[in-house]
Subunit: 337 residues, 4 copies
Amino acid sequence: MIIVMKPNAPIEERNKIIAGLEAKGFKIDLSTGNQAAILGVVGDTSTLNPHDIMVNDWIEKVLRVQEPFKRANRAFHPDDSVIDVGGVKIGGRQMQVIAGPCSVETREQIIGVAKSVKMAGAHLMRGGAFKPRTSPYSFQGMGMPGLELLKEARAETGLPIVTEIMSADVLDKFVEDVDLIQVGARNMQNYSLLKELGRTNKPILLKRGLAATVQEWIMSAEYIMAEGNTNVILCERGIRTYETYTRNTLDLSAVCAAKKLSHLPVIVDPSHAAGLWWMVPALAKAAVAVGADGLIIEVHNDPEKALCDGAQSLKPERFAELMGELKGIARIIGRDL
Amino acid sequence: MIIVMKPNAPIEERNKIIAGLEAKGFKIDLSTGNQAAILGVVGDTSTLNPHDIMVNDWIEKVLRVQEPFKRANRAFHPDDSVIDVGGVKIGGRQMQVIAGPCSVETREQIIGVAKSVKMAGAHLMRGGAFKPRTSPYSFQGMGMPGLELLKEARAETGLPIVTEIMSADVLDKFVEDVDLIQVGARNMQNYSLLKELGRTNKPILLKRGLAATVQEWIMSAEYIMAEGNTNVILCERGIRTYETYTRNTLDLSAVCAAKKLSHLPVIVDPSHAAGLWWMVPALAKAAVAVGADGLIIEVHNDPEKALCDGAQSLKPERFAELMGELKGIARIIGRDL
Amino acid sequence: MIIVMKPNAPIEERNKIIAGLEAKGFKIDLSTGNQAAILGVVGDTSTLNPHDIMVNDWIEKVLRVQEPFKRANRAFHPDDSVIDVGGVKIGGRQMQVIAGPCSVETREQIIGVAKSVKMAGAHLMRGGAFKPRTSPYSFQGMGMPGLELLKEARAETGLPIVTEIMSADVLDKFVEDVDLIQVGARNMQNYSLLKELGRTNKPILLKRGLAATVQEWIMSAEYIMAEGNTNVILCERGIRTYETYTRNTLDLSAVCAAKKLSHLPVIVDPSHAAGLWWMVPALAKAAVAVGADGLIIEVHNDPEKALCDGAQSLKPERFAELMGELKGIARIIGRDL
Amino acid sequence: MIIVMKPNAPIEERNKIIAGLEAKGFKIDLSTGNQAAILGVVGDTSTLNPHDIMVNDWIEKVLRVQEPFKRANRAFHPDDSVIDVGGVKIGGRQMQVIAGPCSVETREQIIGVAKSVKMAGAHLMRGGAFKPRTSPYSFQGMGMPGLELLKEARAETGLPIVTEIMSADVLDKFVEDVDLIQVGARNMQNYSLLKELGRTNKPILLKRGLAATVQEWIMSAEYIMAEGNTNVILCERGIRTYETYTRNTLDLSAVCAAKKLSHLPVIVDPSHAAGLWWMVPALAKAAVAVGADGLIIEVHNDPEKALCDGAQSLKPERFAELMGELKGIARIIGRDL
């Protein structure tokens, strides 16, 4: 971390800052040239918040050089992390596709979709039992019975299951039953929940918050990892911008950024990003081309009857067709799918 | 809600949609003119999600006419709600000021600040015991002992206390001890927590999420109210934009919008919005001038030693001086403070 | 266009609005059901501005059904437009790649890069003679002599040239010398310039404004087309968001949206979007996979010596390698490159 | 400017960078401590672009310490600039109010409004003759005849006139006839136009671009000032965010920021920001309370008949009433109005 003093800062103020940092165990490289004094702070600066340091009015700017995350940092772990989710490896050469409906609705629906997506080549299945809806009057998901149906679908197809957790009070059940526990965009900075998940050893799918920077997103992964659980997979799902044509704006450059900064796998959710089913295939192809480690795609056997998000769901036939194209693109960029 | 069919939509598709909505108990006003057919949906459309309806490809657009919230809706409750917080009434002619440090740090600190802000005319005091920090390595707040110190400060000064809840597992204690329970921006859509708060009758201070629209913010209030607790106070605290000079962009037009759409009180937090102490007085004055029902301002007796957010804290003397100006502006616009 | 009256709107107000619109030549489909009255406005509503109509306080909402653009509208021109740029056809099955340096700097530089990109398979060449820089103290481009060097490079390689216009006072020269005239993001709503360009018949490359919606972007194309020039090519180049890791956020869903709404070709500029050379290849591949009609990529033979934007330029070898991968992806999605 | 090298950067690379900067006349303070080498660049760094410097891959970060603007910089001009506009001084203790319709429509309209706003206490009058409209099919303003009507209104009332320029080809006429030439948000980075305006000595009202940072906005002022014209007044008019309830989001913290960074006057346009007439008075009061140097407010004698932006115009009576409240708030904060 670098601290730039104001040109006219009194030496006592500078010394006060140096003393404060040395008291916390940091070493200071002081540079006083023709310009303002510059303090290079040496040590583990992840505990320091530039915003808090700015409190001294004689400081002009504070620049973080090292990223504020450690366990998620590629600098300290150059190789890609590969996370095992019920036998499916996410983060390696093989790209993995998660598919399924937004919500679990009935046994027929979830088992039917599970079979369809498996046949089309999906590697894991998704389905929401607990649903975060903007309105308290919208369908909130089946809850625990939905989880039971997901288990039945897994038993039928062998596909590991991915579903969202909204509250730590069902964590024991999720740890027992779910293969990949999803944290939704709205809970990306629910730190109490992240800490609890960090105390398990379950794979966690951490969606990027609605308006989270890449750094904040990785810091949320760091919350989980700091508690001991390093099985974190990042998921880009579109960010909030001024554009209203799509529900969110899919940020594929974030995939490049997150993979540069961190060793964690990064997958993409084109369905929630666009909110428009007809755009999903094009965005899914782009996500593979950009180098994501996988996709999570909404597929529903009867979108018009879906209890939620039907408008962004593909029908199984369209999904199967898409899988073929995705395989082709993966091959061109030297990956498998 | 109004559904506009595509110009060439088959009559069967239109009828299918009408039948589906009638089955849910809605009445349909059908208009077929020279243009496309238009369906006016009559009934309580708060249960309908326009995005979900768009699944039918023959629909051109869906327009919500009624707002999706009910209990928070000014249309059904034209008078301003006034919420009693430990005897202090928020939402009436009298504007109320909440002041105090970002975090509770020591007995001396919190009691000292409490006395200062009381003397300066503050009506309630704030102080964080549980702190949502971007980094797991930053100070996370004192936790329960911090809450005990807040109670001591209340005993000394008589000021009701406001503090943030991060997890429902401390809810019973908060209900017992806290006068106004704050939900932070990062938990604005933590629906599990909102529902739990809705089952109490405690006043809740609901901060606007980092990138929440005014409608989403009120919908989060609706989550609490739908469970029975109507004691909700909204708090604008700046939104995320592309501008980097300030930490967030204070959106004072949101105060006007929220008060137009809802009967709930709306207060403003200029400290978190700007993140720069020297900007707080100007923004506080603007917030009073725009017609907010109160303010929440960070005050610290020694900002440079603050464990968090010192850079946005006012010293007690500056706060006292500001209170005088705020009173003057309140008078001009026909309010008291 | 649909106008929804407030539930309690007096009939005279409604009639006043109807009379006003009929006086402008529109027909009105009036629907008065159990709910509020709804006015369907039939006619060419592209001349109406919903914001202006909202002036009547008895109107609840105004909904545009038809898009506000006509000549650029795919609804009235279902087939893809193909624009001929110096013999290179943009908008058909063949994807086209424009490559070259940010600025023209010297004869050697521009001719050298032109030869390199031609050898690598580029179809057109770019190079800025007039540069819009944030600072008046930064290099502003070579101006007219730069244009002469571009012409020399064209003479040497046969590649059509693409360069940016910043002011209509050089328009005659541009019309004579340039194959594809670029309008930069900052001038996307410089309507005086757009109208002047609309009076030529030169192909125009219209970059999306920094914070323009897809609709506003197409409306700017409409400004050019309304004057008679239908040779417009759209270019997505990243939008402004809160994310700071990349210079802008590349919005590939905008390619899908623009091609759905309009028949005009859409190309992508991954170099300006990211602002980071190492991210350009991944984003270029994604842009091809998503179905763009072409790319515009910065290539410089010595990025470190570049007078502007070296940080986002590829070296010729890296560009040549990328072209191979792009061809492979194009083939998978049924296009040529 | 501070350049931080990567920890493992070879000494030759560092030396290459130093040599390059020294060749441009800069002095370098080199600091090599326990951490990475840090280069302090001494000299007029406003000519350097951090983005361009980042081209060397051995550079970790580049931090600008000095702001990139000079003539607009408060550091070199600590006192507030006061600009004389036809005898009205903008930027001093006295706050100034500009009022009038969006567009000039008829002689009766503009003279009528001019008289009304003068009587209510406005100090200057506005009216658009050339209108930048999103659609080429919307009313584009009366053009030159509109300017003539503005002059008549000035002759009748004595109020200086403010109107927007869209193209340099009418500049001579504007210099002759207009008291304060407005550059609209869409042309804030039309550098050709800014340079031309910089070669006059007319007062310029520079609106903040739709998605411009405070720094970019001041850099556009710098473009005008670098050519010699220091009579620039900044105008905050709302920025583009994800919020859709208001047309734009008024950013009052930008007033504080711009006045801290620059000595130029800053006024506020609450009408274009909100786009909703009923919100204008509250926002105008907030703008005065925050310390703006003036306001520009849309007033129309018959908003429903306005050819543009009637929905955000106040009627003269409401404007007169507002002026009284504004005076009261100005007094409280130690200003006049």
